[in-house]
Amino acid sequence: MNDYDLIIGGSSEIGLSIIKKLAGNGRNVLYTYHHNASAVTEIEAWANGKPGRTIAIKIDIRSAQDVECLVSYIASKKIRISSLVYNTGLTNDKLFRMMSEEDFNSVMDVNLYGCFRICKALIDNLAVQRGSIVFISSVSGMTGKIGQVNYSCSKAGLIALCRNLALEYASVGLRVNCIAPGFIKTKMLDKIPEENMKIMKKNIPLKRIGSPSDVANAVYFLISEESSYMTGQTLIVDGGLLMR
């Protein structure tokens, strides 16, 4: 069995949780990271004796050449990619009047154009496998948020990309879906003062901040046969935040 799930952006907290969920359930995982080598060490230590195999590859998703190298590696090892999870992303928050075109493009390049690059390179292979693609978007892609024009546009772009690819590839059995997480307990939230966190929690109907594993569980569902009749959808994992 040389079937692998490919996780783009495996070294973030959500990425690590996705890898552990998939490999812990017997799926082989090929994941990429950019600079967080300590996360790779953590995964290697964790993966020992687990039912699924894990392989780490360092790439910069902004580089077409790096994407080509990844595709060559997959071909050279005769790896069949059965699902793709696009989980990489960055923020560069600023009020719109302070946001330069460079600030805008730097976020779009990683969060959206990188997704286009990897899909362009691998989508036919995924279609041949009748695979599944999952983009990690955000509730920010569905609502407005002060200081996040670039981030919100990139995440909304992922939802649009998902719907369009889902339509174009449905007839060959490839499914494409999105996940829109709300507030998830990651280092990004550590910067928020305790008082503000309390207010945030109050606004979430389920009264808690989500954990990376809440997102990982949704990924596991969307790449599995359990969701075989779902495509072009955005699964919102936000404790009910958007209902308000």
Partner: protein, 86 residues
Amino acid sequence: MKTTNRETDRNEISSIIAEILEEEFVLFEENARLVEDIGLDSMGFLELAIQIQRSFGTIIPNEEWKSIITIQDLLDTIEKKQQKDE
């Protein structure tokens, strides 16, 4: 009568096209044109490319599809790629 690989492949391609177009099976002549005679559109080509990869294990890059006009062109391309792989 012994069938050649090319005839088997033509049969397989005709069968794939019938499935894509959701029509009755017709064994297409080699000179049948994929767009003008058979009626494949851009979505049909996408499906054909994926199904050819599934059935023959042959990857035909996008740029090569531009010069594939007829069933004969498609059979030639598949044959060439399979010979290369051997």
